[in-house]
């Protein structure tokens, strides 16, 4: 490991890490451009680089992109990446109430803490943790996904019914396209364009960015100006005491969920947020600009990267599109990710681990120093900012597949998002439902295939039962709590 750090601190590797992290932060902060797109686009540039330089550049981009999303999530309620959706819940209300600096400072601080804690897992406990997560079968994955969806619907502001309906609608929009299980077109109604379904990026940009721009343009948003951080970003020693348990818990949740293939940083942030709310003495404050909300989401989404890297480097299992691209990066250098990587190319295996830690430190320095400059985008008149953002949205959607069909999908989902918010249907469950639908269906079908259609088999799966029980408890808890509270009041 020490050799890996020495190798990493060679000037060219360090330069690639700095450039990668910086690029990642900027791309992560721009709604519509994602880390996975950046990594995919950078991949051809790494062909002629040595493997360690290549992985340091890509790991820097990955860490930077996940972290950079918090800036626009807090200041503009436009999550730069899906991982920052949860940060909008409390970060944006904090910015609206003149606490933008505090929200950003806590977000950066929490991101680094999450990154460092998950690095400890990555470096020290990766084999045993990966083994534990590998015990999960399709039933566990399916119930975990459903638990995440239910939690999101419950914690969404407003009506529980509308939260659940938003999730169901999002899942429904993910159905058209080729059914990967049997390779047959589904709900395409004869359209060849629909064979690939609705792309995640156009849907995400449309539902969050475009609808936000249209809302702001129509003047329904009363906030015209948000104060850019002018003073130092306030973080206090007491934050460790106040937010420490939340950070530790969220780091563990983030790392653990990061380990599970297909779940991702957004769900890690979501589950941590929901858990922090359940543990809080003031759960009603979540969603209104409550600091623990920002801390939970940002700690977990960064921690999930460390978790996701564990199965990647120890078993060659990708947890998301980004990890799949990273596997591709190793493959083009004739390196096979998996247990043999530590024997065949230890400088790369340990280089990834070392780069992840150093990228987090670089991210801290860069974001702390440059956040004011990045945040200055909100001082630019709204009309300038929004018109340029619209162009980035169009370009970002187009760049995914070099197809204007994706741009039309983005516009359509922008209008849908605007309509949903007009009837007070939360967008979070809608988008997460869209993301999780394929995973949930795939795992459910695999579960039923394995059990010959016998649903009762779930009774023999303790983890799946636990997730199911937690889902039911999450839905029932508001009613149980109200009843208990009423009973206590009556008795008093």
């Amino acid at each position: 490991m020490i050799d890996a750090f020495i190798l990493l601190f060679q000037w060219q590797n360090l330069a690639f890490l700095v450039v990668g992290t910086g690029l990642g932060i900027v791309v992560g902060a721009i709604p519509g451009l994602t880390g996975s797109m950046l990594i995919a686009l950078t991949l051809p540039l790494t062909f002629h680089m040595d493997p360690v330089s290549a992985v340091t550049l890509l790991i820097g981009e990955y860490v930077g992109a996940i972290s950079g999303g918090l800036i626009t999530a807090i200041l503009l309620r436009m999550p730069g990446t899906p991982a920052s959706i949860v940060t909008t819940f409390d970060g944006y209300p904090m910015a609206q109430s003149d606490r933008a600096e505090r929200a950003i400072a806590l977000g950066i601080f929490a991101s680094v803490v999450g990154g460092v804690i998950s690095w400890m897992f990555l470096a020290g406990m990766s084999p045993s943790l990966a083994k534990f997560a590998l015990q999960f079968g399709p039933w566990e994955y399916f119930t975990l996904v459903m638990m995440a969806l239910v939690m999101l619907a419950v914690l969404a502001q407003g009506s529980l019914l509308k939260g659940l309906l938003a999730a169901a609608l999002g899942m429904a929009f993910a159905l058209p396209g080729i059914d990967s299980s049997i390779g047959q077109a589904r709900l395409t109604f004869g359209s060849s364009t629909m064979l690939s379904g609705f792309g995640l990026l156009p849907v995400l940009i449309g539902a969050f960015a475009i609808s936000q721009v249209l809302r702001d343009a129509s003047g329904t948003n009363s906030i015209d100006r948000i104060d850019v951080p002018k003073k130092r970003l306030p973080v206090y020693a007491s934050d460790i005491r106040v937010h420490g348990p939340n950070m530790l818990r969220s780091s563990i949740i983030g790392t653990w969920i990061g380990l599970l293939p297909g779940i991702g940083a957004n769900i890690a942030a979501l589950v941590s947020y929901s858990t922090a709310k359940q543990f809080s003495k003031e759960p009603e404050k979540f969603g209104t600009g409550h600091e623990p909300g920002v801390v939970a989401g940002e700690t977990a989404n960064n921690a999930s990267i460390g978790g996701a890297l564990i199965p990647l480097i120890t078993m060659g299992i990708p947890g998301s599109v980004t990890e799949a691209i990273l596997i591709g990066a190793l493959t083009i250098h004739n390196l096979q990710p998996g247990p043999l990587l530590f024997q065949n190319a230890p400088e790369v295996a340990y280089g990834i681990i070392a780069a992840y830690l150093v990228a987090n430190i670089i991210m801290l320095v860069m974001m702390w120093g440059a956040v004011r400059w990045i945040a200055k985008v909100v001082q630019i008149p709204r009309s300038v900012l929004l018109s340029v953002i619209l162009v980035f949205c169009v370009v970002g959607s187009y760049a995914v597949n070099s197809s204007f069909a994706d741009v039309w999908v983005m516009i359509a989902f922008g209008v849908i998002g605007l309509g949903l918010e007009a009837v007070k249907v939360p967008l979070g469950p809608f988008v997460i439902g869209f993301v999780l639908s394929p995973i949930a269906e795939e795992q459910l079908r695999a579960s039923l295939m394995m059990s010959d259609g016998n649903v009762a088999e779930i009774l023999g799966r303790p983890y799946a039962l636990m997730f199911l029980a937690l889902s039911i408890l999450t839905v029932a808890w508001p009613y149980i709590a109200t009843r208990m509270s009423n009973r206590i009041k009556k008795e008093a």
């Binding site: 686009l41 051809p44 009506s159 019914l161 509308k162 659940l164 309906l165 169901a168 609608l169 899942m171 429904a172 159905l175 058209p176 299980s181 049997i182 047959q184 589904r186 709900l187 109604f189 475009i210 721009v213 249209l214 809302r215 702001d216 343009a217 129509s218 003047g219 329904t220 008149p381 709204r382 009309s383 300038v384 929004l386 018109s387 340029v388 619209l390 162009v391 980035f392 169009v394 370009v395 187009y398 760049a399 070099s402 204007f404 741009v407 039309w408 516009i411 922008g414 209008v415 007009a422 009837v423 007070k424 639908s437 269906e441 459910l444 079908r445 039923l448 295939m449 010959d452 259609g453």
Partner: protein, 157 residues
């Protein structure tokens, strides 16, 4: 109409649209073959989701109808938020994308015109403002075009 009544009406319309969307799921699922190699088949999830959507929409619609019965029908005038700017931005965005997609208009030109139009719609309509947005449009579009074609190897438009 009071804001509460308007909200209840909006919920009712929304519930109707969701039921319509669920019907599309049912129609699409009806064309899918029965399961052959696995217990569920392609049609199961659309049908399950459609059913959930109908049930939730009925609950929301039913609640809205109950509210409409209870809420007073006094003719209080609600100040509607002007939506012309948002509508104009949507139209300009659609025209911009159509120009790039169908009209094959060069990216820099189309983007400059779009930024000028959208900026003026959302900001101030004046010759000075038009000039500033046009300069901004040229700078932004040229920069994006350069980065995408030279570094990311993506030809826009």
């Amino acid at each position: 109409m009071t804001p509460q009544r308007r909200e209840a009406f909006a919920d009712l319309v929304f519930a109707g649209l969701v039921i319509g969307a669920a019907m599309i799921l049912f129609i699409g699922a009806a064309d899918l073959p029965p399961p052959r190699f696995e217990p569920m088949g392609s049609a199961a999830v659309p049908k399950i989701l459609g059913t959930i959507m109908v049930l939730l929409a009925l609950a929301i619609g039913g609640r809205a109808i109950l509210k409409l019965r209870v809420l007073p029908t006094d003719a209080q005038i609600v100040q509607m938020v002007p939506f012309w700017r948002g509508g104009a931005v949507i139209v300009s965005l659609v025209l911009y994308v159509a120009a790039l997609d169908f009209g094959r208009v060069p990216f820099v030109l189309a983007t400059t015109i779009f930024i000028t139009a959208a900026g003026m719609i959302m900001g101030k309509i004046s010759p000075k403002s038009a000039g500033l947005f046009a300069v901004l449009g040229i700078c932004v579009s040229t920069l994006i075009y350069f980065v995408f074609t030279h570094f990311l190897f993506i030809q826009i438009g």
